[in-house]
Amino acid sequence: MLNFFKKIKKDNEIIEKEDKKGLYQRLKDGLARTRDNFTAKIDDILSLGRKVDDELFEELEEILILADVGVSTTEKIIDNLKEKAKEQKVKDAEKIKELLAEEIYDIMEAKETSLKITPPTLILIVGVNGVGKTTTIGKLANKFKREGKRVLLVAADTFRAAAIDQLDVWAGRNNCEIIRHEEGSDPASVLFDGIKAAKSRNVDVILCDTAGRLHNKKNLMEELKKIYRVAQREFNEGNIETFLVLDATTGQNAIQQAKIFKEATDVTGIILTKLDGTAKGGIVISIKSELDIPVRFIGVGEGIDDFQEFDSEKFVKALFE
């Protein structure tokens, strides 16, 4: 709706004014390519005076597919869009764009409350290989440190070569504590020690790195469940969040990842990385719609500050402005 866009615009003006450090700008930059691709096409299609016909919907469908939204969610979105267009007797193609934005926004916001990290909190970071788990922990640690929280990293990826050293570098950059064992040791017991240390040191946030694993590897998922059980058992007085890190370049397989990781560790949020490329990460729309897992943060680069809280309004706006 028109109001919807106006409201976003106002909010963003405020944000841009308040944000002297240019965090919003960074988000915008990071998303720029994504947006250019996406909205340039939408604008092409929706140039003035275009009729609302099947061809138009087909072209919108193509854009969503190319954004990795997936066939079934795309069909659902387009069907709803058609219905709304009919209901509201929309004749103007431009209006369709608003309806589409609204449709996606509604999916992302459905039943959503904002994330609150109240100490003590343990955050378990999980995901398949190479998606950006360790880097994300570095960025999260930075964020929490800046909020004045005491942060402890747990190096529970004891499998991949030099993974512990990699996390150690991030601990150094953030000047925060780290609990590490030897490579090859039992990851669950690293977390056990981490929780123990955190309790005695009054740590506010524990960030636990885990080894990348493909969700279809039974033994590795069992290992992860064991880590999760240790968290539940040893940290029952605190809050536990499990964040699944997804690479924005991933296609439809991300749904399967989300589903199986959720079964294993009750994933509470998604962190979508690598949005600084040309990939659109549209798969999170499907994941939210099918599995009701919200996106919490996005990664827009390799630097410690290339990190943003996910915000549906900004996200939708960035896609459609």
Partner: protein, 446 residues
């Protein structure tokens, strides 16, 4: 279910087509609509799919149905031919230089698996009698050099590094002299992951290329990549004129449509696939196998090749024949289990059997502990019972359970698993009726 495999999908589609008398325009259109959805769900790029569908539709409509084929088989043949053509018609090898060292440069996005794959490739080449050296050119990611060093020491391949203060171009250049002086005949350069739109870092790759003139520039691509893979592959190829692609993480349950997309936009061959955590988990890519796998033939050839390392060739052929003729008995099942035990994850092997959805596999997922129990149960069966399990009634079950130290429930569940396995075999035979046994290609429609 939304996550049904592309293989399963296409089988369903062609089941619908099969048995109809004539190949009409409507049939083709309907089949192509399904093929299109299946390919999109498999992450094949939209534009690639469109082109593919147009080609196949055109070809299907223009052709007369061959006498020996049903209309459905004929469509399958065309789809398969097109798919194979798209995947490349033959397997491709590494270009070794006449003047050693052969220089291989690994490039790709962040997190695609370059470092691990460099290790695997080194290990592979070592097993082929080469003496490789790994070169650490990722000076950016924390502990990337250390990672390569750990990898190198675990496969016993030296790693050349100059720390993270020297430019990657200089490291690469110096490494060539190092290799020459120390008689290493293959140099594998591990570069940092980068975005294809990062001009500065893309220029760095170009500079490394110009400095060392690699015999092979290999783009490492995560098999789970979605629609964007065409942008990535196109950019790297434009900048570097790559020689080939390595597809990683194929041990996941992704349908791997990226393989098609990459090939379609770069016209460069996929040379290797990586499919596991171990340094031996790398194999030469077989385009025809990939195409037939997508079409529901499964990767029978890979399965058999793997089996041959353990079982001798004759037995493997016998097994294949039995599978085709549906004479698969508990004896064969037992023998296979014993052979497979030494071959690595069984679900991985099963996943190569045609028409097997990983989702349907749940019932027959076997761990090593399960195998011991299954062995005990089968060994407690009489010869007759093994050949013809349908005679196993209540009292026989009781006897078998007692004999194997298991419960009736466990015996029941094995019987069920066995039936499931046979059903899968049946599915396979349906698809493979006209398949010639034991040859390279599996043209099931010929």
């Amino acid at each position: 279910m939304a996550f049904e495999s592309l293989t399963g999908k296409l089988q369903d589609i062609f089941k619908k087509l099969r048995g109809k008398g004539k190949l009409s325009e409507k049939d083709v259109k309907e089949a192509m609509k399904e093929v299109k959805i299946a390919l999109l769900e498999a992450d094949v790029n939209f534009k690639v799919v469109k082109e593919f569908i147009n080609n196949v539709t055109e070809k299907s409509l223009g052709q007369e149905v061959m006498e020996s084929l049903t209309p459905a088989q004929h469509v399958i043949k065309i789809v398969n031919d097109e798919l194979t053509a798209l995947m490349g018609s033959k397997e491709s090898k590494i270009n070794f230089s006449d003047k050693p060292p052969t220089v291989i440069m690994m490039v790709g996005l962040q997190g695609s698996g370059k470092t691990t794959t460099s290790g695997k490739l080194a290990n592979y080449l070592k097993s082929k009698g080469k003496s490789p050296v790994l070169v650490a050119c990722d000076i950016y990611r924390p502990a990337a050099i250390k990672q390569l060093q750990v990898v190198g020491s675990s496969i016993n391949v030296p790693v050349f590094s100059m720390g993270d203060k020297t430019s990657p171009v200089d490291i690469a250049k110096t490494s060539i002299d190092f290799a020459k002086n120390n008689n290493y005949n293959v140099v594998i350069i591990d570069t940092a992951g980068r975005l294809h739109v990062d001009e500065e870092l893309m220029d760095e790759l170009k500079n490394i290329k110009d400095a060392v003139n690699p015999d092979e520039i290999l783009l490492v691509v995560d098999a789970m990549t979605g629609q964007d893979v065409v942008n990535v592959a196109e950019s790297f190829n434009e900048k570097l004129d790559i020689d080939g692609v390595i597809l990683t993480k194929l041990d996941g349950d992704t349908r791997g449509g990226a393989a098609l997309s990459v090939k379609a936009v770069t016209h460069k061959p996929i040379k290797f696939i990586a499919s596991g955590e171990k340094f031996t988990d790398i194999e030469v890519f077989h385009p025809d196998r990939m195409a037939s796998r997508i079409l529901g033939m499964g990767d029978v050839l890979s399965l058999i090749e793997k089996a041959q390392a353990q079982i001798d060739e004759k037995k493997a052929l016998e097994l294949q024949k039995k599978i085709l003729e549906q004479q698969f008995s508990f004896d064969d099942f037992l023998e296979q289990l014993q052979g497979l035990k030494n071959m690595g994850p069984i679900d991985q092997l099963f996943s190569m059997i045609p028409g097997v959805n990983m989702s349907k596999l749940k019932g027959i997922n076997v761990s090593d502990k399960d195998i011991k129990r299954i062995e005990a149960i089968i060994q407690s069966m009489t010869k007759e019972e093994r050949q013809n399990p349908s005679i196993i009634n209540g009292s026989r079950k009781k006897r078998i359970a007692a004999g194997s130290g298991t419960s009736i429930q466990q015996v029941n569940s094995l019987l069920k698993q066995f039936e499931q396995t046979k059903k899968m075999m049946k599915q396979f035979t349906d698809m493979g009726k006209n398949m010639k046994i034991g040859k390279r290609k599996m043209p099931f429609f010929k």
